[in-house]
């Protein structure tokens, strides 16, 4: 076992009896089993196909993995663009510091429940959500650490037909070094609707491991929009896993903007459980320096007549590395499936590298599926054309990079957030191009 893996196991042994909802026998049993499984398998290594391009174990060796301290009390509100990106929207805000929920929301509409993980785990539905594996790929991944060590998280529960009147914004601040394991649960009952924003920001901490799992369950005709901005501190490690089980004719849309951390992996597992549902898993990534960003996405068409679309756009400068691994699975009976998947990467430097592995696994015959991947650099002819009209080289590059990312932003259904994301990208170019000049 590596030192990092041993730290997780030891942390569990030490904290086991103080973890939330430890009076629930099923949960304690689940946790014990999770840590035992993890102790047996260890951290994922690059010989596993799903982890071929991302060496999590290696970077975790250098990270501070003891639990980040709990903090309560007033905090200076950080002036972070990853938070301000959502300022145009009137929204509910909940704050996590080092992975621990700080605030309680009041004045919520009838039928809306926002609570912390410990309070919610006694509900049967929470048990189902925590226990269910959405994809076989999860069996070999690191969510076992989270399951054992999850300390807090946000639980959003919407009753039948309830529409959350304003977006809910989760602000995750890393103030102290260390590891934080959080678990969010989102259940939208039939016909319910919500928009959730998330911002991950380093606010003082430098060496930390942000580990988050979000389990989503959508009832018939429920609708969830999720927009996340990850701008963790430069040396941080960010590991996010989102699982979504989609009911009939439901709508799920997720957009992830990745800007921060030394190493990040954003995993999304979607499973269609009811016919006629629609899923969009999209994102934009912009990295520089020696950053490494991994987008991993599996969409499982387990039932007929569902549509999924995935688009990730990645811009890599300096010696940064991008990864896209995506798989669309169409089960034998899942006829009339529409599955699309695309990864496009733009390399701004000769030292940058992109690894893309789009996959289709189709067992039904009456389906429409398409996938693809491109990796390229800025079009020199286009640069010349723009410059021949008086636009200086930096501005011309910025125009072309913006245009490239914009196709990803176009997939964001929320207009206010879309504009915010564009502005965030523009900030990134300004900084990057200035450094290049």
């Amino acid at each position: 076992m590596t030192d990092a893996a041993r730290t997780f196991v030891e942390t569990y042994e030490r904290e086991r009896d103080g973890l939330p909802a430890n009076g629930l026998d099923w949960l304690v049993a689940l946790r014990d089993k999770a840590i035992a499984d993890f102790a047996a398998s260890g951290l994922p290594h690059r010989r596993l196909e799903d982890w071929r391009y991302t060496d999590l174990a290696r970077v975790l060796e250098k990270a501070t993995l003891s639990p980040a301290p709990s903090r309560q009390g007033d905090m200076a509100w950080p002036d972070a663009s990853a938070i301000k990106v959502f300022d145009a929207a009137d929204r509910y805000i909940v704050i996590f510091v080092n992975g621990v929920l700080q605030s309680k929301l009041s004045d919520l509409p009838v039928g809306v429940s926002v609570s912390s993980l410990g309070d919610a785990l006694s509900a049967d539905w929470a048990k189902v959500l925590v226990e269910t594996r959405v994809s076989e790929a999860q069996a070999t991944n690191v969510t076992a650490i989270n399951l054992a060590l999850m300390r807090d998280g946000l639980v959003l529960d919407l009753a039948k037909g309830v529409k959350l009147d304003k977006p809910l914004h989760l602000v995750h601040l890393a103030v102290d070094d260390g590891a934080s394991h959080r678990r969010n649960l989102v259940r939208l009952d039939d016909g319910a609707e919500a928009t959730v924003y998330e911002s991950y920001v380093g606010a003082g901490a430098t060496n930390y491991f942000a580990d988050v799992v979000t389990n989503v369950s959508l009832g018939t005709e429920a609708r969830l929009m999720h927009i996340k901005v990850q701008d963790e501190a430069a040396d941080a490690i960010h590991l996010a896993t989102l699982t979504a089980m989609l009911g009939a004719r439901s709508y799920f849309s997720s957009f992830t903007m990745t800007l921060g951390s030394a190493l990040s992996r954003n995993q999304t597992f979607v499973r269609f459980d009811g016919e006629g549902a629609e899923a969009h898993v999209n994102g934009a990534t912009a990295l520089r320096g020696r950053q490494h960003g991994d987008q991993f996405c599996i969409v499982d068409h387990a039932v007929p007549g569902c549509a999924s679309a995935t688009l990730f756009r990645t811009v890599l400068d300096d010696a940064s590395t991008g990864v896209f691994q995506g798989k669309v699975v169409v089960r034998p009976h899942a006829q009339k499936t529409d599955g699309r998947q695309m990864s496009n990467a733009l390399l701004l430097s000769r030292d940058a590298a992109m690894n893309a592995k789009p996959e289709l696994e189709i067992y039904a015959d009456d389906v429409q599926c398409a996938h693809g991947s491109t990796i390229g650099e800025l079009n020199r002819e286009a640069l010349f054309y723009l410059r021949s009209r008086g636009i200086d080289e930096q501005s011309a590059r910025q125009l072309l990079i913006s245009a490239f990312l914009d196709e990803a932003f176009e997939t964001v259904p929320d207009e206010a957030a879309r504009e915010g994301l564009r502005a965030l990208a523009a900030d990134w170019f300004r900084l990057t191009l200035k450094e290049d000049a």
């Binding site: 079009n379 020199r380 002819e381 286009a382 010349f384 054309y385 723009l386 410059r387 021949s388 009209r389 008086g390 636009i391 200086d392 080289e393 501005s395 011309a396 125009l399 072309l400 913006s402 245009a403 490239f404 914009d406 196709e407």
Partner: protein, 246 residues
Amino acid sequence: MLEIKNLHAKVGDKEILKGIDLSVGAGEVHAIMGPNGSGKSTLSYLLSGREGYEVTKGSVTYKGQDLLALSVDERAAAGVFLAFQYPIEIPGVTTMTFLKAALNSVRKARGEDELDAPRFLKLVREKAKPLNVADDMLKRALNVGFSGGEKKRAEILQMSLLEPSLAILDETDSGLDIDALKVVADGVNALRSPDRAMIVITHYQRLLDYIVPDIVHVLSKGKIVRTGGKELAGELERTGYAEFAA
């Protein structure tokens, strides 16, 4: 305005221009005609600053300064404009966004104030109207899915907005039917002025029926082999380039 002296240039190892001498004064319209491969496009790209061309001998002086020492965008800011034979498609950048960026860059370089959105919009509409460029076209990504005629009209619109001192039109007639050609030629003619010089590069005489040049040059194998008045174009149309080709 433009003085080209004994200009030699190569692409890779191949010498394309082999001693060009050309003098273009303000207010003049020069046509450069010649067979395929004579170096017409090389000359136009070289003047606009495209990479990949190596000048081995000679000089290009524009308004008293060494044009070859300027970067691509500096040349544009100084008033050099190339209307492309094949305008590049730029997905994701709307024509409007591009025009505004270009105009304000050039204005800034010339020490003029940048136009805000309402003033810019008014100006673009005013310039777009005679060229039959509709608002819908301005909202589309630059040149993406434009017809041949639309691309050339967009080029002339850019020229009209940027108000260059030296405009180089590279095979502007290629891919145009006669109606589109007239619209484009009218647009170009409207820009003729005593302060502006134009170089019209073309294989065929047809364009010169609409944009009537003051002087016609014949380029062959990297050299100007003949210079004459506008009647030279008609003569070439009858005899072809055969006498210059061998």
